[in-house]
Symmetry: C2
Subunit: 123 residues, 2 copies
């Protein structure tokens, strides 16, 4: 599907190349999902957080999607999933050490979100 991932070496050596080794591209592989950043922002502020609480906070997300996004973050080593053998079941999510490295970026984005709202109230 992906046309070809062959990298033009001549261009790789050019410092202006923004190909697959670009740090931003790598970051986007992790936080690229539609809900990932909101999820991480919630978990960051309240850690750990249960499945049901996350669902309530996201309000428009469906369970299926929420589960999928959380699984991907877990697979990528960003969050940790802890299951408690109780009835009713309880599952808590928290940031891993690697995930915590995203906190500065998340906070910076929130800062921008506020600034943007202040500058353009009608968006």
């Amino acid at each position: 599907m992906k046309k070809d991932t062959i990298i033009d070496l001549q261009r790789v050596e050019n410092e202006s190349f923004e190909g697959n080794n670009c740090p931003m591209t790598n970051a986007l592989k992790i936080i690229g999902g539609k809900w990932k950043l909101q999820l991480l922002n919630s978990i960051r502020k309240e850690c750990p957080l249960r499945f049901g609480e996350l669902k309530r906070k996201m309000q428009d997300i469906t369970q299926a999607t929420l589960t999928l996004q959380l699984r991907e973050l877990e697979r990528d080593g960003i969050i940790e999933r802890k299951i408690y053998a109780e009835t009713p079941p309880r599952v808590e999510y928290k940031l891993t050490e690697l995930g915590k490295k995203l906190i500065p970026a998340i906070e910076a984005l929130c800062t921008f979100g506020d600034a943007y709202c202040a500058a353009r109230p009608n968006n």
Copy 2:
């Protein structure tokens, strides 16, 4: 289509509500496109930047998509489009003052991207 945007007031008053007024949600409205962050990252590092240069850096993007993403960023007040009346035509893109407020977030994401790569080389 959007089920309903009616907001449960009881929940709005709850400090744990992460609804439509969440700063992260607002930020995502702006940087939510597939290429937006990469584009902004490129323009940040080399400003101003021409259309053709952006296209080369993104390498896998099509012209149509590139144009669309740039237009959206322009509409949202993040970048500025400057047309030079020359032949062949020249169009340059640069960050607006509002757009520059995204720089810390972009840099933080790049930092994370590098850290992530170092921690998990095989992703």
